[in-house]
């Protein structure tokens, strides 16, 4: 049955309409959950607020489990879903830069746009920096390209690489996430409370 657009259940033009609607809903929920506050987001690094970790990991697990149940019931064909190619070194270096940027600025790219939408000055400054970063990266791309291309491992998945059933990976991932929630709660209780 699904995915609905590749299987022509609805026309391809709806792609953008649905993307805009989902984007708006996502932005609204982010903002209403307080994710446009850089203090809340940075809290995960200082140990006084783990909402970011909990929300994103829960969303990840719910989507993962939901998709695999839908695949089991033949409601969606997992093989038709797009898998992002893995550029190993690019991902490691990009992850470090993103982490430093997240910690220093208090936003991730999505939440910074949320902050811009409600007129937060730190969000606007962060987004301006984000675009400058994109510009520098684009200008230097021909220089950086070999770094990407050499480490392109293609559309790899953990279950295929490790030769383990995806269901076991989901279970292990869920247990690890719940463990992270539990440990983060202990850390939060021990760290001095910050009111913002």
């Amino acid at each position: 049955m699904g995915p609905i657009i590749p299987n022509e259940l609805i026309s391809v033009e709806w792609n953008f309409v649905i993307a805009i609607l989902i984007g708006m809903a996502f932005g609204f929920i982010l903002e209403s959950s307080g994710f446009s506050s850089s203090r809340k987001l940075a809290g995960v690094f200082y140990g006084y607020d783990f909402a970011v970790l909990k929300v994103f990991l829960t969303a990840c697990i719910v989507a993962l489990i939901g998709l695999f149940y839908m695949d089991y019931l033949n409601w969606i064909d997992m093989s038709q879903l797009y898998i992002q190619p893995l550029y190993l070194y690019g991902a490691i270096i990009g992850g470090i830069i993103m982490g430093v940027g997240f910690l220093a600025g208090g936003f991730c790219p999505g939440t910074s746009l949320c902050a811009v939408a409600i007129g937060k000055i730190d969000g606007i400054v962060y987004t301006a920096g984000l675009f400058i970063g994109i510009l520098i990266f684009s200008e230097m791309f021909s220089f950086l390209e070999p770094l990407f291309e050499k480490s392109n491992m293609g559309h790899v998945t953990m279950d295929e690489t490790l030769n383990v059933s995806p269901y076991w990976i989901i279970l292990i991932f869920t247990v690890l996430a719940l463990l992270a929630f539990f440990v983060s709660d202990i850390i939060r209780k021990r760290v001095k409370k910050v009111f913002y």
């Binding site: 829960t58 697990i61 719910v62 489990i65 695999f68 149940y69 089991y72 033949n74 059933s165 269901y167 076991w168 989901i170 279970l171 991932f173 869920t174 247990v175 996430a177 719940l178 929630f181």
Partner: protein, 221 residues
């Protein structure tokens, strides 16, 4: 800390524990549920529709034309056995017998969407079987040479001279087939001469009919 606040805190904690338990049960359920073989390739209804359609067939004339024009998007696949392939095959054909369709090295020829793959065998039945397997798996741009090598011999290597009552198109097609045969290295000039000789208008056989002799007037008034 008031008792009300304490109760509320415990309730929230219980709710989170319950949600965590639900996630754990659902994730564990995925491991425990009985697995079933998933349907691969195209849907059965579409497969039946494709089998009933003749769109997969390509005629020997069109194939010959594309081969002569050195169409770069064309790949020929001989679906007969390796022995038969060694004995004779079409130029530049790749041998993929029926039992090697899913061979790791050879499957890449069939499972692609860049080239037009023309499958052939002695007749088109074996090639049809390979086509069915490929189509079922959702492979794109697979075609079958109608009539296979037998038809190839009949039309390109030894084309039949059209009868005098046939249209000009039939004669043009014959000329094309003769030229195509020559392109593929068939010395069919003699055949043409022979045919030409035959083509010569036969002297009309005059069937003489004895003229009726005028009967001498008999009698009368």
């Amino acid at each position: 800390m008031s008792a009300k606040y304490k109760t509320k805190k415990i309730l929230i904690k219980r709710r989170y524990q319950l949600l965590a338990l639900i996630l754990l049960i659902l994730a564990g359920g995925l491991v425990l549920i009985p697995k079933h073989d998933k349907h691969e390739g195209i849907k059965p209804e579409l497969f039946v529709k494709n089998i009933l359609s003749n769109e997969r067939y390509i005629s020997t004339d069109i194939l010959a034309e594309r081969m002569i024009s050195q169409d770069p998007s064309l790949i020929l696949i001989d679906t007969r056995s390796a022995e038969a392939y060694q004995e004779f095959s079409l130029p530049d054909a790749v041998n993929i017998p029926l039992d090697k369709v899913f061979d790791e090295n050879l499957n890449a020829y069939l499972n692609q969407d860049v080239y037009d793959i023309v499958l052939f065998s002695n007749d088109h039945f074996l090639a049809d079987e390979v086509w069915m397997m490929g189509n079922r798996m959702g492979y794109q741009r697979l075609y079958v040479l109608q009539g296979g090598l037998n038809e190839w011999f009949k039309t390109i290597i030894h084309p039949k001279y059209p009868s005098q009552t046939m249209s000009q198109d039939a004669f043009d097609l014959y000329s094309f087939r003769m030229a195509a045969g020559r392109y593929f290295g068939v010395a069919n000039d003699t055949l043409e001469i022979k045919q030409k000789v035959i083509r010569k208008a036969k002297p009309k056989k005059v069937v003489t009919q004895p003229k009726k002799k005028k009967k001498a007037p008999e009698g009368g008034c």
